[in-house]
């Protein structure tokens, strides 16, 4: 968890460009039943919507922590979207981004800052 950077909106990104949502976020969403992922190759700006996570109760967009191109998407979520609940930091990753401006990584939150924000604002 500490090897990655975070957005206030609960997405994480690893140095290799893998993006997912935090454990805090998956708990807030509850049982996830469908994940709508972007097309591979799509260009995104930092903060753009990448897709939609659907839980039983609600639909939530997720956003790109950095600008770049969608390099890969997690195809296993088509059949098993619950991976996002079960392993939000591992097999429940969402997409991999090839950053176009790696310096943007430095603008993101570290884990401790994110965790404090999430705890404070989450309820």
């Amino acid at each position: 968890m500490k090897d990655r950077k975070y957005l206030k909106s609960h997405e994480w990104i690893k140095p290799d460009g893998h993006v997912g949502i935090s454990d805090f976020a998956q708990k807030e969403l509850g049982d996830i039943v469908f994940v709508e992922l972007p097309e591979v190759g799509r260009s995104v700006n930092k903060g753009d919507s990448l897709g939609m996570i659907e839980s039983v109760k609600a639909s939530s967009e997720f956003y790109s922590p950095v600008s770049g191109k969608v390099a890969t998407i997690n195809d296993s979520l088509t059949a098993t979207p619950e991976l996002v609940n079960q392993q939000p930091y591992e097999n429940g990753w969402l997409v991999q981004i090839t950053p176009s401006n790696p310096a943007e990584m430095n603008e993101l939150l570290d884990y401790d800052t994110y965790a404090a924000l999430a705890e404070a604002g989450g309820h």
Binding site: G30, D31, V33, F34, E36, M52, E54, V56, K57, S59
Partner: protein
Amino acid sequence: MKKTPLYDEMVRSGGRMVDFAGFVMPVQFAGIISEHLAVRRNAGLFDVSHMGEVLVSGKDAERYIDKLVTNAVGKLSDRQVMYSPMCYDHGGCVDDLLVYRFNPERYLLVVNASNTDKDFSHMLSQIHGFSVKLENLSDQYAQLAVQGPKAIHILSGLTDLDLDNIDFYWFREGLVNGSPSIVSRTGYTGEDGFEIYCRPEAAPAIWSALLIKGSTHGIQPCGLGARDTLRFENRLVLYGHELDEHTSPLAARLNWAIGWDSDFNGKQALAQEKETGSKKKLVGLEMKETGVPRQGYSVYAGEQESGVVTSGCKAPFLDKFLALAYVKPEHSSNGTELLVDIRGKKLAATVVKTPFYKKPPISRLTDSAEGSRSSEA
């Protein structure tokens, strides 16, 4: 924000509390899917103390309620329960409710929490010419629902009532965990089960006793999330979704809950709608392309806008993406191919028969063995 008498038990049981209809209520405990499946397979326990209760008493009670609601209240026997919409003169719904008859001069009306105040005002406005007394007793009743095929086995040791003698939509008064209660064989899940009305101060002990007794039967505490998905699979309508002041019981296919022989509020409007046909019809939709249909999403027949989704989710027990929707009558027959606009993408859906999930028959303690449902299925 009001707390129900079970608030502390909800928090202690791990409930995630949210604001709903002016109350702090649990939306979930272990998780909506897990709770939903527990009710279908074993049992679930719900705090539904937020529901409103209005006592109607007096010599004209029967005549008054028969005017107030669409269903034929005159057909009720003592200790019987009836579901009914309650309409405005224009045929739209004030609410839908349960009518409990103690005797012809004493009834309890159980209404939706979000509508309690509105309903009570409406009821008072209709009182002219009737010798009845109305009392809003919502704060004097706690309500628990124990639902699922194992519900009868869980409740049986905790009450002096013979539960086999309470048929679907009947009730008895007796002791639950030593406290005077009303026990009805009703629910909002599409399963067998009971609803228990008790004094607020007795509710926490009843909650705990049911959880303890139910632990060997796979009971789970359940929140409003599972309550919604369970009622949805069984196509039980929810006010604010399938019903509102602009929607008639006929459009919602509640014809069975209209007693045409009595002179109820809205009868003229509904009779006319019956004659000319409803402008919209409630249907079930099954998504043919993957997507989660949600309330408010538009439904199309080709290029033509046909209606709107009222409730939808990935149904936890049936494991399908399903919706309830109002569509034009010409698009309402089973098998009709429609499209649901999910955030700008029109995804294919088919009109399917409802209820999506059919309520199984009630279980009896005297059945050979617990779980005998498999032999009935």
